[in-house]
């Protein structure tokens, strides 16, 4: 690793930097291009993004199946009925339109159902994140949706049905990113 970059190489880089757009301008920083190719398969465990564009994993679950997992792993913080519990983080209830100070929950506030899978899989339960299987995640989020009255307890939640589920507050957000 003793390649010394000559002055003329820098001069050429400068020439291109002044005459070409961004990509070449960065060459003058001498990007060593050290990234190694990686495949989506390699990243199957690390890439946890679940969204409209990022395919959700295989598996499925119903609220009926999720009831026990919720009781065992979620209720101690969020409450048996998801109303807040010891952690004061309610998952259920609230009404953005009628309450004076709205309780913002999955049911009342969250605009996208995909966020529920994404967040539970990456961060919950708080004392043992990533300990649930994908199937368990589908089951337990089905139970949270069921407690909010958004699905019945036998509705199968999977990659497809989750993305088609319309959340009550889906139209409640204003995207401010364009004004930046």
């Amino acid at each position: 690793m003793s390649n010394v970059i000559s002055k003329s190489a820098l001069a050429w880089a400068l020439y291109f930097a002044l005459s070409a757009p961004l990509a070449v301008a960065q060459d003058i920083l001498g990007s060593p291009q050290l990234g190694n190719p990686v495949t989506q398969m390699d990243l199957s465990e690390l890439d946890l993004i679940a969204s409209k564009e990022s395919v959700l994993p295989a598996g499925s679950g119903t609220a009926f199946q999720g009831r026990e997992i919720y009781a065992a792993k979620c209720a101690s913080c969020h409450g048996a009925e998801g109303l807040g519990g010891a952690a004061r983080q309610p998952l259920v209830g609230g009404n953005m339109k009628t309450e004076e100070a709205p309780t913002r929950t999955v049911g009342s506030y969250w605009p996208h159902a995909s966020t529920l899978f994404d967040y539970v899989r990456r961060a919950m339960p708080a004392n043992a994140p990533k300990s649930l299987s994908n199937t368990e995640v589908y089951q337990v989020i089905a139970y949270v949706l069921y407690m909010n009255g958004l699905i019945d307890q036998y509705k199968v939640i999977n990659a497809e049905t989750l993305l088609t589920l319309k959340m009550p507050n889906a139209g409640g957000f204003i995207d401010m990113s364009a004004s930046d």
Partner: protein, 437 residues
């Protein structure tokens, strides 16, 4: 908390000198004196040092001048006499393991750079202990060549440095409440810090991966137990975002994202994802929990603002500030910090009478782009109550709003992005308290 113990006799001499000298240098009501006073009259230093009585009359040789001290050390630590300068991590919440925040003791620091050990923290699942040799940063999604980088490779990239502030969008959020909280500059406003950040422009790594033409957003994910993620518009990502590896010259501290973090200048701190492990390109935002359920603000009409990234123009007075106690009448300097997520600070004004009259403060040199600026203005306190307020203007002409203006705009349900003017009330007995005007 005492700002300065003073000798009354010497002080009154200084006071009468000041009185005659400053009659036509008063620039606003309730004791504000021209920022040029101290230079112009050359008595500012005299006025303050003459009043200092801590040493007494015993000028014998001190013990530390009569015996050698310890030799060099591996990593220097602050003097034990400043051991009280600490962040305030609060009590751990067993239901939120590792979660929470600690705030920078702004009222105990000077200058504009926050020491690394005192930079504010906000964690969603604690500080991971990352072995850099086993840490992967990968770029995937809408790119021509998904890539993975190891730490050693990242160290071989050319880096640039920027001295810029970082502010949590929840900073000063307590000031949205109806009742003025009785706190300090640290407890109310301490979720802002400033450091020299050194790293690789994200655009360099994105270029290497080859961004697909349809990509519009970048999702950044950390390697902490929460795998915290945020979506950032590609336009910003290729503009000035850094993949930062160093803070004030040394490798990032674990609580600041070691070995590698994102640094997103001028935007709410949460998007500067720590322990950075993933960059994913997409057409639309990923709609993470921390950009939907959290870090969004609900307006009076119950619609909610999402992706409110830039931090507004803001200033805070750090001295005199909450829970300090002025001991004697006389000359003080009103000091504080100002910043703007849009650019640089061009002006800070100070009022000592609750906003009725204003005077322009001196700004220390090098108030750079998205960095902290430190401002000062001499003020003579004669024992009357005073309401100290600062108001910043940035180089785009944005003016820090009053609290009432901010509340009118954002409503009572908002929590994030409080950037309104704050008022410290000095009572006639010298007590300093947060208040609303």
């Amino acid at each position: 908390m005492s700002i300065r113990e003073t000798n009354r006799a010497e002080l009154s001499a200084v006071e009468s000198e000041l009185e005659s000298a400053t009659t036509d240098l008063m620039v606003a009501g309730n004791g504000l004196i021209s920022r040029r006073l101290l230079l112009g009259l050359g008595l500012g230093g005299a006025g303050l040092s003459a009043a200092s009585g801590a040493l007494g009359a015993d000028f014998s040789m001190p013990a530390w001048s009569k015996q050698p001290g310890p030799g060099p050390s591996g990593y220097g630590q602050p003097s034990r006499f400043v051991a009280d300068i600490q962040r305030d991590p609060g009590r751990a919440n067993p239901l939120y393991p590792g979660g929470g925040a600690s705030r920078t003791p702004l009222h105990q620091l000077r200058g504009t750079i926050t020491p690394n050990g005192l930079h504010f923290e906000r964690h969603h699942a604690g500080v991971p202990e990352i072995d850099p040799a086993a840490h992967a940063l990968f770029i995937n999604g809408l790119v021509e060549r998904p890539l993975v980088f190891d730490y050693e490779s990242l160290l071989r990239y050319p880096m640039i440095s920027r001295t810029q502030f970082l502010e949590c969008s929840g900073n000063s959020g307590a000031l949205f409440r109806d009742t003025a909280v009785d706190g300090t500059a640290q407890s109310i406003n301490g979720l802002v810090s400033c450091a020299e950040w050194t790293g690789i422009p994200l655009s360099v790594l994105l270029d290497e991966a080859g961004v697909s033409p349809e990509a519009r957003w970048v999702s950044a994910v950390g390697a902490d137990a929460a795998s915290m993620g945020r979506s950032i518009p590609l336009k910003k990502a290729v503009d000035d975002v850094l993949v930062a590896l160093f803070q004030n010259g040394e490798p990032l501290r674990p609580e600041q994202g070691y070995p590698v973090r994102l640094f997103v200048p001028g935007w709410e701190g949460n998007v500067s994802v720590k322990w950075l492990t993933q960059i994913k390109l997409s057409k639309e935002p990923s709609q993470f929990r921390d950009e939907t359920s959290k870090y969004t603000d609900t307006l009076a009409d119950r619609s909610s603002l999402q992706f409110t990234f830039p931090m507004g123009v803001k200033s805070i007075i750090t001295s005199p500030s909450g829970k300090m106690q002025l001991q004697t009448h006389g000359l003080y300097q009103i000091e504080g910090l100002a910043w703007s997520g849009a650019g640089s600070i061009s002006k800070v004004e100070i009022s000592a009478d609750g906003g009725a009259t204003w005077a322009e403060a001196a700004i220390d040199a090098q108030a750079g782009d998205k960095s902290l600026a430190r401002f000062r203005l001499p003020w003579r306190w004669q024992g009357n109550s005073a309401q100290l307020i600062s108001r910043a203007t940035d180089n785009y002409g944005n003016i820090q709003p009053t609290r009432n203006q901010l509340l009118a705009e954002k409503g009572a349900l908002a929590f994030y992005h409080f950037n309104a003017q704050q008022c410290w009330e000095v009572s006639s007995n010298g007590e300093v308290k947060n208040t609303y005007v």
